[in-house]
């Protein structure tokens, strides 16, 4: 199997708080990894380090064989952009560009990066919006969309750059419960298309059904890594068992 993400001995602290203590991870192509664990365990920080939103203190990160960071040394901004070209991210609070229409949100990055002519990208915009079920919102402003719609636009925006890896940082945590389904459906569809994904989430049911691997984090360590059955249902680690017993998904 092709290895898309490799993380070795990753460490990160903010001030004198050690957030990530020794993280190791291998993600293969088409893996869907659910990153679970209690609040403050470092899940988001870890995810953000994979796309250079957080600079790590030591360790290595390889994206599709290229070193984003080796012994905490990063390449130039230009090289980092090149290495992360195939990595996209979806945020908890969507972070759509509020002054641009849905269409402009989708087209801005590929246009600036010259990833196609305007006509090609317009066609692609429609195709991807159709995939997330929002064709009719092409010319809407983000502030006129519901939370679920905003998040689907955010996913569509990430897809415009043809990512091979998609990172989701609590994609449904800011949504009303009745709106999470539409977003989770889109993520499910992506997993069927063999998109490699890391998803920080509190939706244990979804993790169990859609992920093929679960990474359990606690206090800056990876306590468990395996199939959903191994980690969620049959872990031999007491902390992990307690966690899932308490939340009773």
């Amino acid at each position: 199997m092709e290895q898309l993400i490799k993380v070795e001995h990753l460490k990160k602290s903010f001030g004198n708080v050690d957030v990530l203590k020794d993280i190791n991870l291998d993600v293969e192509k088409a893996d869907v990894v659910a990153v679970l664990g209690p609040s403050g365990s470092g899940k988001s920080t870890f995810l953000r380090s994979l796309i250079d939103l957080v600079e790590i203190d030591s360790g290595n990160i390889y994206i599709d064989g290229n070193a984003l960071c080796e012994n905490a040394v990063y390449p130039s901004a230009k090289k980092k952009r090149k290495i992360l070209e195939k990595t996209g991210m979806v945020f908890q609070h969507f972070n759509l560009f509020p002054h641009k229409t849905v269409k402009e949100n989708l087209m801005l990055a590929p246009l600036l990066k010259k990833q196609g002519t305007k006509a090609e990208l317009e066609e692609k915009t429609l195709r991807i919006l159709k995939k997330v079920g929002l064709t009719e919102k092409l010319n809407a402003m983000p502030n006129n969309l519901s939370g679920g719609q905003k998040q689907r636009v955010a996913i569509a925006r990430a897809l415009m750059c043809d990512p091979e890896i998609l990172l989701f940082d609590e994609p449904t945590s800011a949504l009303d419960p009745e709106l999470t389904g539409e977003v989770l459906n889109v993520i499910r569809d992506l997993s069927k298309e063999k998109m490699t994904m890391l998803i920080v989430t509190h939706e244990i049911g979804f993790a169990k059904e859609a992920a093929n691997k679960v990474m359990f984090m606690d206090e800056g360590y990876v306590l468990g890594f395996g199939t959903p059955e191994e980690i969620i249902d049959n872990s031999d680690n007491e902390r992990i068992r307690n966690f899932f017993a308490k939340i009773k998904y």
Binding site: H93, N95, H99
Partner: protein, 216 residues
């Protein structure tokens, strides 16, 4: 001297007022923007220089600054003789531009701080360069957020222009005062008030339109 004799003079005064207004806006806003970016740059020395500049410009009266540019500069040792500005309007306009640039810099800085961190992060994960992020994401939002404060500042400016009366320019206020002296009648003051009101009102409407156009 009848109403129809002095009205044209007042309109001429209005023209000077309006000219000063537009010249100040046209130069002080871009200058303010440059100051904002210098101020938010990582260079500590540059930061200190800009914040000192803003302190001086906001902390001293505009009238004093106008006097300083027009009467004071020539007396500066060594460089004074090169800085003599004989044209009253130019001197006044320079003082206005320097002063308003400081206010606009602060307004834009506030707008810049209001752009959420998530916008920078979204731009970064989409592979935008810092320059692209600035021009396509940050600046448009900063301008939109700053608009109400800019509008407020513009209305203050149209009235502040009256200060150039002090260096002998025939703006609306100066002309009016002369007419009042000649006619020994207060009605010219009332007409001037109406003129200022009309100009402020037009500004209010224009900015409301701009705000509406750029709302999101």
């Amino acid at each position: 001297m009848t109403f129809f004799q002095w009205l044209p003079q007042m309109l001429e005064g209005c023209l000077i007022t309006i000219k000063l207004f537009f010249i100040t806006i046209a130069f002080s806003m871009p200058l303010g923007l440059i100051l904002t970016f210098l101020y938010t740059s990582k260079n500590k020395t540059v930061n200190k220089i800009i914040s000192f500049y803003i302190l001086i410009m906001r902390g001293t009266p505009l009238l004093l600054q106008i006097f300083f540019v027009y009467f004071g500069l020539p007396y500066l040792p060594v460089i004074g003789e090169y800085l003599t500005i004989t044209d009253r309007f130019t001197a006044g306009a320079i003082a206005f531009i320097l002063n308003y640039a400081a206010y606009f810099a602060e307004i834009f800085r506030g707008g810049l701080l209001s752009v959420e961190e998530g916008q920078y992060e979204a731009a970064k994960v989409l592979g935008l360069t810092d320059m692209q992020t600035r021009t396509h994401i940050v600046l448009p939002q900063m301008f939109r957020i700053s608009l109400p404060a800019v509008s407020n500042e513009a209305i203050i400016l149209i009235k502040d222009t009256a200060l150039i009366t002090a260096i002998g320019l025939s703006d609306l206020l100066k002309v009016t005062k002369t007419i009042v002296n000649k006619t020994t009648n207060v009605s010219a003051f009332l007409v001037a008030a109406v003129f200022y009101l009309i100009m402020s009102y037009i500004l209010t409407i224009v900015f409301k339109k701009i705000e509406k156009k750029f709302s999101y």
